[in-house]
């Protein structure tokens, strides 16, 4: 295992910093079903960390534990050196964690711009009265937030659909808008739930490039769930492999790829 306090350099020359989030012996049960069994791993500053596994392995449950949506029966979540108490989703958001969803959760009737603006909610402090009458901080804030949002729109190359209602967009673009909204929150940790699910090869390549660019340009720490093995191996610095709620592998893509247990569980055992 790596020394927790020391920085290390990845194969492509990026520096990975200290621990941002640490999962300690997490166990999550739904009634009698154990979705996650005693799993521990960490996420370090500036890395792209993937959690992979076959269907039903408990990946999404894990992400929901990380985002604070599920509270595990056993184990602790440490964020920035502090043990996290059970909290509501908006409190988690304020801590600097943003996420996207596997089955897109955007406001379908609103424009792309408005959807991305909602990501700035935690950066607005004008009260209801000020916003309604365009007084006090409201205007300056709106301008400031719009500028930030426009930079993200530019970054993700969605200028052409800025004013388009989300409902009219194809699936791949909706995914990109969701990423934009998550980025608008300027998160320290970005959680992506199957960002490439249901995409064609070209869309996957685009999305991979955006994820890498986000990590590179903004230095955002990213944790993602994915079951497309190829994408994950190209994209991430370190990979956790889950199967039936248990962790069966953890390490760099190369280490994971050569792990026999992972090969058997994830890629399947040859039936002679």
């Amino acid at each position: 295992m790596l020394d927790q306090s020391v920085e290390f350099v990845t194969a492509d020359g990026r520096t990975i910093g200290g621990v941002v989030m640490e999962m300690k012996h997490i166990t999550l049960r739904f009634g009698g079903v154990e979705a996650i069994k005693d799993i521990s791993f960490d996420i370090r500053e500036g890395e792209i960390r993937a959690i992979i596994g076959p269907n039903g392995a408990g990946k999404s449950s894990m992400l929901n534990v990380m985002s604070g949506f599920y509270v595990p029966q056993e184990g602790e979540v440490w964020f920035h050196g502090k043990k996290r108490k059970p909290m509501r989703p908006y409190e988690v958001a304020r801590q600097g964690i943003a996420r996207t969803f596997q089955n897109i959760a955007l406001f379908q009737g609103m424009s792309v711009l408005d959807n991305v603006m909602t990501g700035r909610l935690n950066h607005m402090s004008a009260n209801l009265f000020q916003q309604a009458f365009w007084k006090g901080r409201a205007e300056a804030e709106e301008v400031e937030n719009r500028e930030k949002v426009e930079q993200i729109i530019d970054f993700l190359e969605i200028q052409a659909i800025r004013k388009t209602p989300v409902a009219r967009l194809p699936y791949g673009l909706k995914k990109r808008v969701e990423l934009a909204r998550a980025l608008a929150a300027e998160p320290k940790l970005l959680l992506l739930d199957e960002p490439m699910a249901g995409m064609n090869v070209e869309e996957k390549e685009d999305m991979s490039r955006f994820i890498l660019d986000v990590n590179d340009e903004f230095g955002t720490t990213i944790a993602l769930i994915e079951h497309d093995m190829g994408v994950v191996m190209d994209l991430s610095d370190r990979v956790v492999v889950m199967d039936y709620g248990k962790k069966i592998g953890d390490g760099t893509p190369d280490e994971v790829r050569s792990n026999q247990q992972v090969i058997d569980a994830y890629l399947g055992v040859a039936h002679d």
Binding site: G13, R14, E150, I153, D154, Q159, A160, L212, E217
Partner: protein
């Protein structure tokens, strides 16, 4: 008098014209670009400072007089400044097509021996890096958008902004040198080198001098009374001569504002927001807009739809005549005014043509109906005929003498002659200096008296003095029975149908003509959606029986119209096939300006062609395709071959009587 002479000296190059404009139009906008959702703008005075800083930076980096500097990227003010900054320090800018693949770029970069490359973004930088080993002359690269390149080795890679800062820092030490280099520019110095896409062989570098560029800009600006009040949207490739003349030369001569879109996809929105007064577009842009208007009107409420069609019919009747200043009855005029308020003005505003004063189309023939549609709305759309070698202008249509079937009268100071084979020759101040490192081609194209062969066949209409183009001279041939074969003539007629994107006609030296046809995915896809026809791919749609039936009826109609032409009635399409893939520049089937490479297509699809001439009713084709990122793949399909309805020609009818 003294001032006139002082100005004359300053009108010999673009960098000095920039200085003139900074004084004359200092606080008026020179460039606008939409970024972060807002139109950012720079005045002429600010532009001069930006260009100055960059020029000093290039000087500091060691750019020498006569160095070639490649400029690659989409239309952005920074890249336009780059070209002028390069000129200011005595270099020659060479704009490249940004969608060219790496090997194509390697050829041009090696051919001109570019020492510097100024690239728009990571994509362009990567392409150059990919072929770096073949480029012995390449030393420094400058990029605009830093995104994704943080980890690149910055030994020979510089950011645009950083280079400008470096230039500003070195201003004291280098200002004298910059002034001296700028002062050394005269009419004979090379202004720009532009590579022609070339329908055959490797691209050739066309060297244009300051005289070529500035005199052409002056003449053409006078022709259309362009002034500093005009504005233009720059969205066509920077490597294309037209963009250089419209967005750089004329803009600098007149002092008007150049507007750059936010991204290629937002071009239509940006066009509407800017509402340029001066506009250029190839026919396909006008066709595309008309198609989308018609599609949207199908979805409109019935009142709106009826109003639209009613007034459009009226515009068709009198609109063109009103625009040409011909007599029109009072009632018709009043009705046109009403139509203007209810339909034409709102429509023009939606399209982005609300303020247009002069619009041009060229490059390909435009469908007469499309052309008339825009003119009937009161948009002064005209045609011009030009070439890179002529610094664009050979002929153009004066206001009031606009027709769909001619390309106008010779531009100011252009002489025209037609030789015995029908090929068009011209001589003008815009005639290029030479093809770079290619005296042989230069000699073949330009004779010692300065006449340039266009390679196009045409004739001058006796009554109007307008030029009419028949076809590329080398494409005009003879059929087996000696009848004239002019493929463009037939292809254009077919391409005017919205569901047909591209046509290639064969028949030179044969007894009859056959054709390859590409469907227009937008139009046909929309039709399919409306009629609940499901399709999984381009290939499937292109082979759909209903689609084939409608294409066959178009071919029949075109044959009827071709039959009416005495000279070309032999060019009727006997058999045709709807291709399973779009002809594409990435596969070498077209040039970057979307002209079909006939010989290449004939060679590549020889099996299909053979089947067309045999009596087979279907053919199996397997074709290699190149994806945008350069990887290769394969598509295969069984194509139906259809027989077209043939009409009796005028001559045959006469004989029968």
């Amino acid at each position: 008098m003294a001032e006139v002479r002082a100005n004359a000296g300053r009108e010999m190059s673009l960098p000095t014209l920039l200085q003139r404009n900074a004084e004359r139009y200092g606080d008026r906008p020179a460039y606008r670009e939409k970024e972060y959702g807002i139109w950012q703008s720079w005045t002429w005075a600010e532009t001069e400072k930006e260009v100055e800083a960059l020029a000093l930076g290039l000087l500091d980096l060691g750019l020498k007089p006569g160095d070639y500097v490649a400029v690659i990227g989409r239309n952005r003010p920074y890249l336009y400044w780059s070209m002028v900054a390069v000129q200011a320090v005595g270099g020659v800018p060479v704009p490249l097509y940004q969608d060219a693949v790496a090997e194509e770029m390697a050829y041009v970069l090696a051919n001109c021996g570019a020492r510097f490359v100024i690239a728009g973004d990571q994509e362009q930088v990567d392409k150059v890096l990919e072929v770096q080993e073949q480029l012995t002359a390449l030393e420094q690269m400058i990029y605009l958008d830093p995104r994704g390149m943080r980890k690149y080795d910055h030994g020979q890679l510089h950011s645009f902004k950083a280079l400008q800062a470096q230039g500003r820092k070195a201003a004291l030490a280098l200002a004298d040198e910059l002034n001296a280099r700028r002062a050394a520019l005269d009419y004979a110095s090379t202004c720009v080198m532009l590579y022609t896409s070339g329908t055959t062989g490797k691209p050739k570098g066309v060297v244009l001098s300051n005289r070529n560029v500035i005199e052409t800009a002056r003449n053409s600006a006078q022709f259309d009374q362009l002034s500093s009040d005009d504005s233009i949207l720059s969205y066509l490739p920077m490597a294309w001569v037209g963009d250089f003349i419209f967005s750089v030369a004329q803009a600098y001569w007149c002092g008007f504002c150049t507007n750059c879109p936010e991204s290629p996809e937002t071009m239509m929105t940006d066009l509407r927001e800017i509402g340029p007064t001066y506009f250029f577009a190839p026919p396909r842009v006008f066709e595309g807009q008309l198609t989308s208007v018609m599609i949207r009107m199908e979805d409109a409420g019935s009142l709106k739809r009826r109003m639209f069609h009613h007034f459009l019919a009226h515009a068709k009747k009198v609109g063109g005549r009103i625009l040409d200043g011909k007599p029109v009855g009072l009632l018709d005029r009043l009705k046109y005014v009403l139509g203007n308020v209810l339909v034409y003005e709102p429509l023009k505003d939606t399209l982005g043509y609300g303020r247009i004063r002069v619009g041009y189309t060229a490059g390909e023939a435009i469908g007469p109906e499309i052309f008339d549609f825009y003119r009937s709305l009161g948009i002064n759309l005209k045609q011009l005929y030009g070439q890179t070698e002529a610094t664009v202008f050979i002929t153009q249509q004066p206001d009031g003498e606009v027709r769909a079937d001619t390309v106008g009268v010779p531009s100011p100071n252009v002489e025209l002659k037609i030789d015995e084979t029908g090929e068009i020759f011209y001589r003008s101040p815009g005639v290029f200096v030479e093809y770079f490192k290619n005296p042989e081609s230069t000699m073949k194209t330009k004779d010692k008296d300065g006449w340039v062969a266009t390679g196009d066949a045409g004739f001058i209409e006796a009554a109007s003095g307008h030029l009419r183009i028949i076809d590329r001279a080398k494409d005009v041939g003879k059929m087996a029975n000696g009848a004239m074969f002019a493929p463009k003539f037939v292809e254009n007629k077919l391409k005017f149908y919205p569901d047909i994107l591209e046509v290639v006609l064969f028949g030179n030296g044969r007894d009859r003509c056959v054709a390859f046809i590409n469907i227009d995915l937008t139009a046909v896809g929309n039709w399919a959606e409306r009629n609940n026809i499901a399709y999984a791919s381009y290939q499937e749609l292109a082979g759909h029986p209903e689609v084939l039936k409608s294409i066959a009826s178009h071919v029949g109609e075109v044959n009827r119209s071709v039959a009416e032409d005495e000279m070309l009635s032999g060019c009727q399409v006997h058999r045709f096939v709807v291709l399973h893939k779009e002809l594409d520049a990435d596969d070498g089937e077209m040039t970057r300006t979307r002209k079909v490479r006939r010989a290449f297509v004939e060679e590549k699809y020889q099996d299909i062609l053979a089947a067309l001439y045999a009596s087979e009713s279907r053919v199996f084709a397997r074709t290699e395709v190149t994806y945008e990122d350069g990887r290769k793949g394969e598509v295969s399909a069984t194509l139906e071959i259809l027989d077209a309805e043939i009409s009796a020609s005028v001559k045959q009818l006469e004989a029968a009587e």
